[in-house]
């Protein structure tokens, strides 16, 4: 479960270029819920993800993951509870290390690391099996350094790494935006499959309205650091792309009038 309570964050406070990133944001995802976050640039999507992962400290407010208040917990300790896939395929993997070593790192995310051999036969067999699900042939390239993989392969690997160990919360930060349509489709299908089989509580940020319509059981629209609109349940199932775009349109009309 994820709970964000009255989160606020202002950059450059008191300066001429003051920027309110989060303005009393409230958001709850119950266990197993798959929330899709949309919103225009600067609406606070990235700030929200950074606040959840711990990369950005809040000015005020509270963040609870899986029942534990993690507001003051550093990034590497929050990793016990959450996993994240970044937009940039380079960010989520260690380029100079092999596929198997990357899998090992993710495998140990919520465990204590010991002074024993990391890559043993049991683990390698497990990694091979988990990578085979993708159908990209990564299972035969365990000893390949990740920098030699394509962007799509790296992102698929990031995804398998993130969903392993069944994190309390999965954060997807426009994770298909940098991929070509075919690869984006493969990664998205693998994502949905993993989220559904493992019943992961998931928050996905996207600019792709079709994805927002097709996937997830809740659409959350952010604007000016707040949740502006949230559509759940049956209403979410009926929503169409034009409906969503209308909500953006209302906002931009207002911005025109205000300007």
């Amino acid at each position: 479960m994820l709970e964000i309570r009255a989160a606020t964050k202002t950059f450059y406070k008191g300066m001429p270029d003051e920027k309110v990133a989060l303005n009393g944001l409230d958001l709850t995802l119950v266990d197993g819920q798959f929330g899709i976050v949309i919103g225009s640039n600067g609406a606070g999507k990235s700030s929200m993800l950074n606040a959840i992962s711990g990369a950005m400290a809040l000015d005020s407010g509270k963040i609870v993951i899986g029942g534990a208040d993690v507001t003051a917990v550093p990034v590497h300790k929050r990793a016990m509870r959450l996993a994240r896939v970044f937009q940039d395929p380079m960010k989520g993997t260690a380029a100079s290390m092999t596929v198997a070593e990357n899998m090992l790192l993710a495998d140990l995310r919520s465990k204590s690391r010991r002074l024993r051999k990391g890559l043993n036969a049991t683990r390698l067999a497990d990694y091979r099996e988990r990578l085979a699900i993708l159908g990209l042939g990564l299972e035969n390239r365990l000893d390949t350094r990740v920098e030699l993989l394509s962007g799509g392969q790296r992102q698929s690997l990031s995804l398998i790494m993130a969903v392993g160990g069944k994190p309390d919360l999965l954060l997807l930060d426009e994770h298909t935006a940098a991929l070509d349509p075919r690869t984006a489709d493969i990664v998205m299908k693998a994502t949905v499959k993993a989220v559904e089989t493992l019943k992961l509580t998931t928050l996905m940020v996207t600019h792709n309205m079709q994805h927002a319509v097709d996937f997830g059981d809740s659409v959350i629209m952010l604007d000016a650091g707040k949740v502006r609109l949230r559509i759940d349940g049956d209403e979410k199932k009926k929503i169409t792309v034009p409906d969503l775009i209308d909500h953006f349109a209302v906002k931009s009309d207002r911005m025109l009038l205000a300007g």
Binding site: V75, K77, A79, G92, A94, A95, L104, R109, R113
Partner: protein, 306 residues
């Protein structure tokens, strides 16, 4: 023809002495390689940690402490030096190179304080090299002890970097943001890794003092560039694609580099020119990729080579 023969014969007679020296100095090269390659933390602390280890060892030997405890003390103090460099970088966000220069500069005073004077003779005190069946003071004894130590350290590190913890340390060097997101404590890995690297440099200094029979505050002068040159030669020979190759590089490089220096000296190069030659060599190795790129259009974003 005679001249060539003379050069060759003087080089050949020097091989064992040079080998002994290079096996001892291999630990400085290791102390440069670990932060540089495993942690992406270009570090200059070894220039100060090497004489620090030497001075601590020298003072303790002069005070009648056994050679082994003296080496252990040097290792502990060396670790502390690297720990400080890493802490300065992490806590105050000071560039790693500047943090290393700060530490090295401060260590010079500290080394003088430890010894109370600029050099100290410990000739005749017991050394770890006395514990071999070979006659003490001869290169064979030094080669045996330093060589054994090299093998033990190499195997130990190779095993370590393949453990769960060692893999995590390497991840910090490969991608610190990713490492942190995978639950790895980047601070602990960096401080521990840079500390261990300086401990190796200090170990080298301590062994050197026991080998040459005196300690000197200036014994580290230029050791960093020598070590860097050795590392580059090593990497050119072994490559650096795998942990095994990367770990072999400092040892292979140290042996090759010091034999090369010995050959240059035997060929009549004046010793004062050595640092210039080494510096030019390191410069050439660093400049090679950009020279290979030729006179084509410059990269839009110039990336710094560290």
């Amino acid at each position: 023809m005679d001249a060539l023969q003379a050069i060759l014969s003087s080089f050949l007679t020097l091989i064992p002495v040079t080998l002994a020296q290079s096996l001892i100095l291999a630990f400085v090269v290791l102390g440069i390689m670990i932060p540089f390659r495993m942690l992406s933390f270009p570090d200059l602390t070894s220039e100060g940690a090497f004489p620090l280890g030497g001075c601590v060892c020298g003072v303790l030997l002069a005070a009648g402490v056994g050679p082994l405890p003296a080496i252990l003390a040097a290792i502990v103090v060396g670790f502390a030096a690297g720990f400080c460099t890493a802490y300065i970088h992490l806590r105050f966000r000071i560039h790693t190179l500047l943090a290393g220069i700060l530490m090295t500069t401060m260590l010079y005073s500290i080394n003088l304080r430890i010894m109370g004077k600029s050099n100290l003779s410990v000739f005749g005190t017991p050394a770890v090299f006395d514990w071999t069946p070979f006659p003490a003071g001869f290169p064979a004894a030094k080669i045996a002890v330093a060589g054994l130590l090299v093998i033990v350290v190499f195997l130990g590190l190779y095993a370590y970097f393949n453990t769960e913890r060692g893999t995590a340390v390497r991840a910090v060097g490969a991608n610190p943001d990713m490492a942190e997101a995978q639950g790895i404590n980047v601070w602990r890995a960096t401080v521990g890794g840079v500390g261990a690297a300086s401990a190796f440099s200090a170990l080298s200094g301590a062994l050197m003092v026991q080998s040459q029979g005196f300690a000197d505050v200036n014994m580290g002068l230029g050791i960093l560039i020598n070590g860097l040159a050795a590392l580059m030669i090593g990497e050119a020979i072994t490559g650096k694609q795998t942990v095994l190759r990367q770990l072999l590089a400092p040892f292979v490089g140290a042996v090759a580099y010091y034999q090369l220096v010995s050959l240059c000296l035997a060929a009549g190069m004046p010793p004062p020119d050595l640092k210039l030659a080494t510096g030019l060599f390191v410069l050439a190795m660093l400049a090679l990729p950009s020279l290979k790129r030729g006179r084509g259009p410059r990269l839009a974003k110039e990336t710094m080579r560290e």
